[in-house]
Amino acid sequence: MASMEKRLQKELQALTKDPPKGVRVSPDGTCRTLSEWIVDLDGAPGTLYEGEHFQLQFKFSSRYPFDSPQVTFIGTNIPLHPHVYSNGHICLSILTEDWSPALSVQSVCLSIISMLSSCTEKKRPPDNSFYVKTCSKNPKKTRWWYHDDSV
């Protein structure tokens, strides 16, 4: 537990002090507990999401960084993307089976930005309505099938 808090504290400091472009730890995320963060993301210039703003919620278990964080889009603007469900769940392999403790909040944010940036057509995943009706609240309980990582 203590090692998880220490690492999150370091990540929070680094991300607040020197965030990559388009990523900000949200001030209204009220990090009262270190185990839940809100991060603001900007759609990258020159992509389909230019000018849009998104919010990501991170939830960390006491086993972080050995367990991946639970990451979902929240708020009113959920990006319209073939790997993002309308309930905010994200189909991205590093969030489940390809997670590694060498990854961080920052690298997850950058992966998500790059996933958005490489999108060529704004649309929901084909099984969106079924998924949203039947899925668990926790996206990590979904056993995703990653068909095409290049999208």
Binding site: E11, A102, D127, Y131, R143, W145
Partner: protein
């Protein structure tokens, strides 16, 4: 393109992503002890868990894994920069006297940090290189 098909699951299969694929069938036997909510089995030398909560199969798997891990070289940080200076798992700089473990890919971590991870997945967190494959090649070539 974009087919995020899914099937529901309750187990964290990454924990079982090892060499023995038939052991990763969640339908076999009682649930493994590393499911969500159940305290994670964490067999570092100073943590014990009642053995009666583990199936025989799990005990064997854990013993095998511990055996493999014990073959990986260890050392003490002596300030040499070649060994890197930060453990990416805890994001702390190595301090003189820290116990380190060296993976075959030459990535270095705190012993306690990496051993914890290797019990869950036998791959290097930095380069995602499978550790056991590298171990076997080392044995064969020596």
């Amino acid at each position: 393109m974009g087919n995020c098909l899914k099937t529901p699951t309750t187990d964290d299969i990454s924990l079982l992503r090892g060499n023995d694929s038939q052991e990763s069938d969640p339908n076999l036997g009682p649930p493994p002890p590393y499911q969500e909510r159940v305290p994670v089995y964490h067999p570092s030398p100073n943590v014990s868990r009642p053995a009666n909560q583990l199936t025989e199969e799990e005990q064997i798997k854990i013993a095998k894994r511990l055996g493999l891990i014990s073959h990986l070289p260890t050392g003490v940080y002596d300030g040499s920069v070649k060994k890197g200076k930060e453990c990416v798992i805890c994001m702390c700089d190595f301090v003189l006297g820290d116990s380190l473990r060296f993976l075959p890919c030459m990535h270095t971590y705190h012993k306690k940090c990496i051993d914890d991870w290797l019990m869950r997945a036998f791959i290097c967190p930095s380069c995602m290189e499978p550790v056991d494959a590298a171990l076997l090649t080392t044995y064969e070539s020596s």
